[in-house]
Amino acid sequence: MPTVRVAINRAQAALATLTARGEAIDDEWQYVTDLEAAWRARLEEVAAARGGESLAPEAESAVDRLTAEAASIEDPHRAIDWMSTLPQAVLLALGEPA
């Protein structure tokens, strides 16, 4: 049975992919780095508190599809925008505030 920890790990991996794409914009390197750190920390908070919980099927499907959507984003500008959107949407699917 997948857990919240597994979902968070997948979200963090997708966030890392978006970060790598966003870093292509030289002027935004610092922002991209800071943004990843902030959202990674927020996701980690949830994993620390609820990591062992089983994941509801609809939440699992949501995280699957959200990470697939993130992986499909190639444009670095759009990737930076999704660095904020992805964690918010994952947290929402897990019933957590942003």
């Binding site: 610092q30 800071d34 930076i80 929402l92 699917a93």
Partner: protein
């Protein structure tokens, strides 16, 4: 302190056409009634790649799943349809539409608190003895005894020193004339991301920030009861 319509240069004429597109007013109205989660859906779809509505429903189970109530689900469906419409207009167009949508949403929310006729778009603010700013403010509230000036951004990345300085200057110039002016930045993005952006900029204490989670504050009695930058 007085207000003036922005100059109608070529960019402004093109942008005015986008602002006048019925889809902008439609989404602005839908988002004004929306929850934070529904606003996040709009943000995701209008910056996403997937054009399949079913995929988005899967990504947002709390809005479309069994737990969603009838009215909420109907609004989510309407937001999804309208957002996919904008997303399908191509990269350059969608960027312009997103900005216009945040402005329209801001105007609708402000119109809940002040007479709608006092809410204006694309206005410059003039002060005696001060050279006028080139860029207009996206949305203003112009009341006899006080005013409000808003710049609207789709994402936290749009926050920069130049935008904040213009708002801060307007606030300072109004104070010099002993007039009341609230200056704020409306950002259609999570407060956490806005804080990340602001952390590397110098503070602008005269500028308020209204993030995705606090948009409804625009329509309540204490305007922009949000974060001071």
């Amino acid at each position: 302190m007085r207000f003036q319509d922005a100059a109608r240069d070529a960019r402004a004429v093109v942008y005015a056409g986008i602002q006048a597109d019925p889809v902008v007013a439609a989404i602005g109205g839908l988002l004004a009634e929306a929850s934070t989660a529904q606003r996040l859906l709009a943000r995701a779809v209008m910056n996403g790649t997937t054009s399949e509505a079913a995929d988005w429903r899967t990504m947002f189970p709390t809005l479309f799943g069994e737990a969603a109530d009838g009215d909420g689900r109907a609004r989510s469906e309407a937001i999804l349809r309208a957002s996919l419409d904008v997303a399908g207009r191509g990269e350059q167009a969608r960027s312009q539409y997103r900005g216009a949508i945040v402005e329209a949403l801001t105007a609708v929310l402000l119109g809940r608190r002040v007479p709608p006729a006092t809410v204006h778009r694309e206005r410059r603010i003039l002060f005696d003895g001060v050279r006028a700013e080139i860029h207009p403010y996206d949305v203003t509230v112009e009341l006899p005894d006080r005013a409000e000036a808003y710049d609207c951004k789709w994402g936290a990345r749009g926050i920069n020193d130049e935008v904040l300085l213009q708002l801060e200057s307007a606030n300072g110039n109004a104070q010099a004339e002993e007039r009341r002016l609230l200056a704020a930045l409306v950002v259609f993005d999570a407060r956490r991301s806005c804080r990340v952006r602001l952390a590397r900029l110098r503070p602008f204490p005269g500028v308020r920030l209204v993030g995705l989670e606090s948009l409804d504050a625009l329509g309540r009695a204490k305007a922009a009861a949000a974060v001071t930058t």
